[in-house]
Subunit: 280 residues, 2 copies
């Protein structure tokens, strides 16, 4: 069922809650792929009813980013959601979500000053604002996020903790194409050559995994081997390669506890991200 | 019933909600007086169950303000709340409310750059953070605020709108001593002489009301007559005297629609506020 208005959504959800039904929630920007689908299916398994929001959120895009060209196909998205078992697809207009005066902001400091936060100023403020709004509208028991956006997961968990939002944040594993490329709505931007070149992301992370398995604990050595692989691809341009503490997202020199290894790489004009967590 | 922990409070409130009971909420910093009591009684009239929080919130005090000396008397507060019909008094320790890393902030721009917001930097960020936390913990149907803190009411209403918090904000009239002084927990700071001198606040506003009733619409003329009265009191020192649009809190020159007339005045070292709204 497609819902466009907050008021209607709230009244449907309140009716569920009166019946004692649990609610799972999957926030998306649409252009849904198997990664999103895995979140929806997990939510359907774990909750009585599932709401998926499809909203290309203007406040999390920078002025020179791809807000206008971001892929939109609500009919296809709706079909995927319903087939995966969602009860409601919430697809509000921007005017339903935001007032012109843009008064209120929600920020998480520290965690957002590194990685994508450093490269995309204001991005996580936009994410925090829209996610806090959606969580207040949907009031889910559990909300599902993909680990591909690992920093986003860390930031949202921190925000939920600090604002005492009564929801469990569930992080779900990255879904990949058969050849290893992490699923992303932005993969549709890639030309045929770029699509091949994009494999360098997952390939570089595999090299790092191997090195870690073999006992390498010097973060710089591992970053250098990742960079070496990425630099070997002429269509790739590194945005960042980092090794950070899984909780604080602070840079690590010697790997002694769980670390997140996130990378951001331009393939042509398309910025792709990938990561893995190494647990000790 | 006194509750100290978020977890216990949540489980009590969830049990009420399962029974279909409505919840009213009155946030306070304790040192309760008849002003707070009027909020609690109104909440008791309008809801099945009422929660009062008593929490001297460190994040809304500036470094040179009166956080340490702010009056605290939880036993007296508890008695007043129970007598007024509250079901729960929530009195958390600061460590129950805040983590050391102080990561997340909630801000309302515009409305907070004037009046008390201009005079108390960071004050409304602290208010927004703690109120958004309490609203997420208590999840009330209605929350009650005193009009004495008129700017706070405007800021909270804006935040609730922007973050889609599902609560009705109810603003309640100022309660005064018999001689006109607005009730305030800070009135206890006043010496006998200062207590007399403090009457100048309400008296100056009465002069303004008279002028408005007689048809005066020039804001400067009215501000000047307020200031004249305040300046006639040797123990009083004006912090601000303003006439602002009720909704936007922007300064007004000619009074053509509803205006808020707020004043802040030091009586000795004690900063007091008062206001009235003039409706056209």
């Amino acid at each position: 069922m497609l819902v466009k208005e907050i008021k209607e959504l709230r009244s449907l959800i309140k009716a569920w809650k009166r019946e004692g039904l649990s609610v799972g929630y999957v926030p998306t920007m649409g252009a849904l792929h198997e990664g999103h689908e895995s979140l929806i299916k997990r939510a359907v398994e774990e909750n009585d009813k599932v709401v998926v929001s499809v909203f290309v959120n203007p406040t999390q895009f920078g002025p020179n980013e791809d807000f206008d060209s971001y892929p939109r196909n609500i009919n296809k998205d709706l079909e995927l959601c319903i087939n995966a078992g969602a009860a409601i697809v919430f697809n509000p207009e921007p005017s339903e979500m935001y007032y012109g005066d843009k008064s209120t902001s929600v920020s998480v400091s520290g965690l957002t000053s590194v990685l994508c936060g450093a490269k995309r100023p204001g991005h996580f403020d936009g994410v925090c604002l829209v996610v806090s709004k959606f969580l207040n509208i949907v009031t889910p028991d559990k909300a599902y996020f993909g680990e591909k956006d690992a920093q986003q997961v860390a930031v949202i968990k921190r925000m939920v903790r600090d604002l005492n939002i009564d929801v469990e944040i569930v992080a779900c594993p990255i879904i990949r194409e058969e050849d290893g490329l992490a699923k992303s709505s932005r993969n549709t931007y890639l030309s045929k050559d770029e699509r091949k070149a994009a494999l360098v992301l997952s390939r570089s992370l595999e090299i790092a995994k191997d090195a870690l398995r073999k006992g390498e604990r010097n973060a710089n050595n591992i970053k250098n081997s990742i960079k070496e692989v990425l630099n070997s691809e002429p269509l790739a341009k590194i945005d960042y390669v980092e090794i950070v503490d899984s909780d604080s997202l602070k840079s690590v020199e010697i790997i002694e506890r769980n670390v997140l290894i996130p990378i951001a790489v331009y393939i042509g004009k398309t910025r792709l991200i990938d990561n893995f967590t190494f647990e000790i």
